[in-house]
Amino acid sequence: MIGWLDIPRGWLDSFGDIARFGVRVSGLVYSGRVFKFFGEGLRQAGLLIFGSALIIWAFCFILGLQCGLQGAYFNRSIGAPSLAGLFSAYCDLREGLPYAFGYILAAKVGTGIVAEIGAMRISDEIDALEVMGIQPVTFLCATRLLGAWIALPFLYLVGIGIIYAASFLSVVNQVGDVSSGGYLLIFWMYQSPPDLFFSLIKGMVMSTVIVLVGCYYGYTASGGPVGVGTATAKSMVFNIVAVHILGMLGTLVFWGSNPRAPIGG
């Protein structure tokens, strides 16, 4: 039976290890040593695109529908249904998409990495790699980070298009208080290229953390087949909280003092 404080205590225990591991893996990518296994990095990017892209975009679509729906009804309740675009613009680009991306990436990619690398650790394949003279951290973790950095920005940008389309559908077609022209006028007025850039940074920081945490928990898995399951569950707990905290910090840093809305002077 676990105690009431076991979860925070476990994080305090492992936070330093995760940070050190993350710095080590990012160092391997930045120093270019990962390019010895560039083919493996490309293969991981391909696996991400073919294995996870559809589910990521489907999740973005559902969140876009929700953003549009809540925004449309909120703006109806304050008597300004034509301003539904304001809510959707903020909800889609600044907040909704980074969170949707973080959730589904933690669920699909993060736990997937733990399951893969953890299974390799349990069946002693990682030791075998070391014996063969291949650095396992470079070959398994750094290539996955490289693959994520290659593929995920593009998945994110396509996700922005999908979430916009979903919000449009639910505001204009489902609720229908505002015409499509009126919606799009406000919608495009309340966003700017820097917003897109900041949103992308937010999403990429989240996904980097998720991939690194996944690699850490997979690489340090122990205790047989049961251990892989436990490590997978633990990585999900850590990732969820990390996504929320990074989202809040991103909002504070990028939009905290200046909402950048075209109101007033």
């Binding site: 979860i7 969140l63 907040e95 736990t111 953890g118 087949p225 809040m248």
Partner: protein, 268 residues
């Protein structure tokens, strides 16, 4: 030839329908075993309830506070401060914290924290063939393992939703204080806009989320296979399916709810 290609292309769709069907069967079985006696799961129910609560409370508090401070708090307060209506943030928080983010974050945390633990636990038992051993002993795994988790998760998710709302509103208060606004306006618009429909719909939605997460995670754990990688893969699939199912369900329920309850659309 064309038929073959078509059937191969439709294979993923067929698999999805099969999975959903098997989960439905498990749901019905769970419901029937829950109401039909004897009731041997009382002790396990209390144990699971405490287990999920102890696992989830800390991630939930951090997550709701962070999400509500960032997304609705600072973004909305930024725009509202430009038009000089920061006291309206209270009414906005009714929509966001109670109707939407409360249930959603509770479901995400419960799926990610408790659901993954349930799948890992049941998957480990499946891999070690304990479930088969239970059946040989004449103990029904659905009645003794799935039903207590199902009931416990339904209750805990509804309970945690209240905490999510409380800490979400605390984040709203923090956002007001960051903008040096007095709290009178916030509470005034909050209490005039909040309806009892908001609260019960939020809690009911969370109960259903708990049921969805429990069924998906139990099913994936009990059908885990394939050695060391199997349990990890089961956890992976369970959490993805629960998240997508919960978000889709939330969209459908809030569409119906917002359209059918006019008091949620009133100006106050």
């Amino acid at each position: 030839m064309a038929g073959q290609t078509l059937s191969r292309g439709l294979l993923p769709v067929k698999n999805v329908f099969e999975e959903v069907g098997v989960m439905m069967i498990l749901t019905v079985k769970t419901l029937i075993s829950a109401v039909r006696g004897p009731y041997p799961y009382g002790e396990e129910l209390v144990w699971q309830f405490l287990f999920v609560l102890k696992l989830s409370w800390f991630p939930l508090v951090i997550s709701t506070f962070a999400l509500n401070l960032g997304a609705p708090g600072l973004q909305a307060a930024g725009v509202l401060s430009l038009i000089g209506a920061l006291d309206r943030l209270g009414g906005f928080f009714v929509v966001i914290a109670i109707r939407w983010i409360g249930p959603i974050v509770t479901a995400v945390v419960v799926a990610g924290v408790a659901g993954t633990a349930i799948t890992a636990d049941l998957g480990a038992r499946k891999i070690r063939e304990e479930l088969d051993a239970l059946q040989v002993l004449g103990v029904d795994p659905v009645k003794n393992l799935v039903v207590p988790r199902f009931l416990a998760l339904m209750v805990v998710t509804a309970l945690l939703d209240i905490f999510a709302i409380v800490f979400g509103l605390a984040a709203g208060i923090a956002a007001e204080l960051l903008y040096h606004q007095s709290l009178g306006g916030f509470f005034a618009t909050l209490f005039t806009n909040a309806t009892i429909t908001d609260l019960w719909s939020s809690v009911m939605m969370c109960t259903m989320f708990g049921a969805i997460v429990a069924i998906v995670c139990s099913y994936k754990g009990m059908s885990a296979s394939g050695g060391a990688a199997g349990v990890g893969r089961a956890v992976n699939q369970a959490v993805v399916i629960s998240l997508v199912a919960v978000f889709f369900f939330q969209f459908v329920v809030s569409s119906v709810l917002l359209a059918t309850y006019p008091e949620l659309q009133a100006v106050r």
